[in-house]
């Protein structure tokens, strides 16, 4: 499989602070790749840098063979990368359906929108029930669904999900991951940042582990699940 996304030695600085020191990874087309690491390891910064909402200070980001480092976020999403960001960042004053339609902004072919809406509603039937409700009035799980659904509306080649299980009830997390599996089966490429190792490794094909802003371990998800180093690094256990 050819790499859809390739990152080499990514560094992100916030003034004097270093957000990410040295991250390299690859996401092959059609794969689900997990980005593991504890809180503060640099997962969110990495995704935000790929999506263009924080700027890259060093390193290369290429997508589908072309460099996208340094492009503004609105240009990157038009290339086919969509991010469901940390904290969802929904447009709380607008309806569920408006949020989804906003997600479809990058589409050149507007006639595809009804079909895409149907697809999202079939993946997340709850959203269909609430389509006219204001996004700000929904529960945490529903907001997460909406954030993912909104990202899907641009028909991305690469869907990036930032901590989709964070703060959600276990039952909802299960449904969420079921839908990711379904998307995977449809051939959707996914880059998944997740704190919960078990969940991520179950869903992913391949995984990277981040520690203090660096990729320190990588391997096929099945092998990583058995790797004692993962547990050690990840949980800070000796």
């Amino acid at each position: 499989m050819a790499a859809l996304l390739r990152i080499e030695h990514l560094e992100v600085r916030y003034g004097d602070l270093i957000g990410v020191a040295d991250v390299s990874l690859e996401v092959p087309r059609g794969a689900v790749v997990a980005l593991l690491g504890s809180n503060g390891a640099g997962k969110t910064t990495t995704l935000n840098a790929i999506a263009g909402i924080v700027s890259v200070s060093k390193g290369a980001v290429s997508f589908d063979g072309a460099g996208i480092g340094g492009l503004p976020a609105h240009a990157i999403v038009r290339k086919g990368l969509a991010l469901s960001p940390e904290g969802w960042r929904l447009f709380t004053q607008q309806s569920v359906e408006n949020n989804l339609l906003l997600g479809a902004t990058p589409l050149a072919d507007r006639t595809r929108i009804p079909r895409l809406l149907e697809r999202v509603y079939s993946v997340f039937p709850r959203l269909a029930e609430r389509r006219h409700q204001r996004a700000g009035t929904m529960s945490g799980g529903e907001r997460q669904m909406l954030a993912v659904g909104r990202a899907l509306m641009s028909e991305p080649q690469l869907l990036m999900l930032d901590e989709p299980s964070l703060g959600l009830a276990p039952a909802i997390v299960d449904t969420m991951y079921d839908s990711f599996a379904a998307l995977h089966r449809e051939g959707q490429t996914i880059l998944l940042a997740e704190q919960s190792v078990d969940l991520a490794l179950e869903a992913a094909d391949y995984a990277y582990v981040l520690q203090v802003g660096r990729t320190v371990l990588e391997g096929p998800a099945r092998q990583m699940a058995d790797n004692p180093d993962v547990q050690r690094i990840y949980l800070g256990m000796e």
């Binding site: 999506a51 263009g52 909402i53 503004p72 976020a73 609105h74 999403v77 038009r78 969509a82 991010l83 960001p85 960042r89 929904l90 447009f91 709380t92 004053q93 607008q94 408006n98 339609l101 906003l102 997600g103 902004t105 990058p106 909104r150 641009s154």
Partner: protein, 287 residues
């Protein structure tokens, strides 16, 4: 209610629709970007002068002056956005006051320099005639301005709440970064907001010029009314500005008639502070 009082209320409603008309541009950018444009009154003033010039020097009537003023002030709004507002938005709220107040003085006295200190009025034309309907007198120019006020504010409201472009503008106003993730260019939307606000303001100026006087300092008077109308109605709520405008218009008219014109502002300001006391976000503002 005596017939005169009915007349007073009707006059107040018309006045209120006109207040809403020249406040809608202010509330749009206020809500979109959390920027208070202290030069708003001077945008109205320039709209009025555009109308005066088109009407008198170039011989156009309202049908020419209104669209031309809309385009002129829309361009001014977009230019102000790119040259000034875009940069001061990153600074503290005070930078907005500083920048737009400086812009206000600059525009006011540039107009002074070009047009002189004198008051100008438009000649009475078709729209200047009044008519009687059910015992109530209506003045053509005010009815036109009031009607357009209603249409423009409702159209802006409709555009923001019912169209894709409006939805994108609201998205930018709520979370510009998230909007970028949707492929929206925040600066374009913000420039568009300034353009639309400018167009509405230009239309307002051109229509007000048909029954009001035009002078370089006229914007000062109108700006305070607009500020009160907008915060009364709630930032960003075009519909709120409309409702607030109508309330203020009627309250002003009735209190000027019943208590005395000097106290009409007192009544309005007291009402305004009371509204903020009970509803700190204004009548229709979002919390």
């Amino acid at each position: 209610m005596s017939m005169t009082l009915v007349q007073v209320v009707v006059s107040g409603l018309l006045l209120g629709a006109i207040y809403a008309l020249f406040s809608s541009g202010l509330t749009l950018i206020w809500g979109m970007m959390n920027v208070v444009n202290f030069a708003h009154g001077d945008f109205v003033m320039l709209g009025m002068y555009t109308a005066v010039v088109v009407w008198t020097a170039l011989g156009g009537g309202p049908w020419a002056s209104v669209p031309i003023a809309a385009i002129a002030i829309a361009s001014l709004g977009i230019a102000s956005y790119f040259l000034l507002v875009r940069h001061i938005m990153r600074g503290p709220m005070l930078a907005q006051i500083l920048g737009t107040f400086g812009l206000a003085l600059f525009l006011r006295y540039s107009a002074f320099n070009v047009f002189g200190a004198n008051f100008r009025t438009l000649p009475d034309t078709l729209v200047g005639h009044s008519f009687v309907l059910g015992g109530i007198r209506f003045e053509g120019a005010r009815v036109l301005a009031g009607a357009v006020g209603l249409i423009v504010t409702l159209a802006l409201h409709f555009m923001l709440t019912r169209t894709a472009i409006g939805s994108r503008m609201l998205a930018v106003s709520e979370d510009a970064t998230a909007a970028q993730l949707m492929g929206i260019r925040p600066q374009r939307m913000q420039a568009l907001a300034w353009g639309l606000a400018g167009a509405a303001t230009g239309i307002a100026g051109a229509l007000i010029a048909t029954f009001f006087y035009t002078s370089p300092t006229v914007g000062e008077t109108l700006a305070i009314v607009a500020f009160v109308t907008v915060s009364f109605g709630g930032f960003g709520s075009v519909l709120g500005a409309l409702v607030a405008g109508l309330i203020i218009g009627v309250v002003e008219s009735v209190s000027a008639f019943e208590i005395g014109p000097v106290y009409k502002d007192v009544v309005v300001y007291v009402l305004f502070v009371l509204v903020l006391w009970f509803r700190p976000q204004g009548l229709m503002g979002k919390t």
